[in-house]
Amino acid sequence: MPSSTRTVFSLIIINKAGGLIYQREYQAGLRSLSTNDYLVLAGTFHGYDPPHNQCPLDISTSLDGIPIANEYLRHSVHAITRSITPKLPLAQTSPALTSPSGNAPVGFSYPNPGVPASGLEHLETEKFRLTCFQTLTGTKFLLFTDPMTGNVDTIMNKIYELYADYVMKNPFYQLEMPVRCEAFDRHLGAWLRGRT
């Protein structure tokens, strides 16, 4: 297979507070940004997709209705892409549609009932494809690949696996802090090189 179909340009890891904790380039192809631009990019994807069928409008209020500290979570691009999800009005005569959408307000459902509304997952441009994967704890992995690259999910799963093994199991790694684990760099680099 030609190498362009398997190209991985770079990987970015964002902690759940929207901070950039890891950034590596594996193949040239994309312009490299200034540190500040990388931080801006990380902030763009700040935002948390509730794993359950939670109404996105409720995310910023706690049970008492008091806004939680992360009110600004709703204002990142990632969160806005979720909030502009088209809402389909429900017909009164179709109770079948209301049940799978859980506690969404009565009156509308999402296009894919049963699937929680998420923020941006894949972004495609003429030159690259960006895949955004969020772990259950809110850490985000942004993977930049060639638009023709197949099986991005497999790559993402492997990266997550390596992250769990070499970062999370490292006793010296402090949560939410920049990832400086040599073993992670080495294994991830070797695995990605082995693929191409």
Partner: protein, 164 residues
């Protein structure tokens, strides 16, 4: 394939046209399809619905604007943002050389609508709006594209896309 909505933004970030299509409620599928459809779209076109979606268009613009800038920074000036999808919908984007932006929201399974948006621009927008001597070149204050021919042909275009 389902089309949820369609927006046009001019180069001053003003939303000059927006249109939402409400899908048929599940209960009436099969019977009186065309009449219901017409009633639905008529409802979507009224002023009240339009106002309720006003904030939507601003959010859509903000999103595509930030993403486009990010894409330009990463991919170089000649790179173009094509589409993104979430678990619920897919957003397609097309920008003309004069910075008019065409945005369409469809369901996640739809193929790339880049060509379709380009066709809307070339065959409908340029023909009916740009070449219309009575239509203003700029749209301050948000009157927007108010053109029966354009709306009708857009409606027709989307209908044929949905059915195919």
């Amino acid at each position: 394939m389902t089309v949820y909505s369609f927006y046009i933004f001019d180069r001053h970030a003003e939303c000059i046209y927006k249109r939402r299509w409400l899908p048929r409620p599940a209960s009436i599928v099969g019977k009186s399809r065309s009449t219901e459809n017409a009633a639905q779209s008529g409802q979507a076109g009224t002023g009240q619905t339009m106002r309720a979606t006003d904030d939507d268009s601003k959010l859509v613009f903000g999103t595509v604007f930030s993403l486009r800038n990010m894409v330009r920074k990463l991919g170089g000036d000649e790179d173009n943002f094509v589409s993104f999808n979430t678990s619920q919908y897919k957003l397609h984007y097309y920008e003309t050389p004069t910075n008019t932006k065409f945005v369409m929201l469809t369901d996640t399974k739809s193929p790339s609508m880049r060509i379709a948006l380009q066709q809307i621009y070339i065959n409908l927008y340029v023909e009916y709006v740009v070449k219309n001597p009575l239509s203003p070149a700029e749209h301050p204050g948000g009157v927007g594209v108010n053109n029966e021919l354009f709306e009708e042909s857009l409606e027709q275009f989307v209908q044929t896309r949905v059915l195919s």
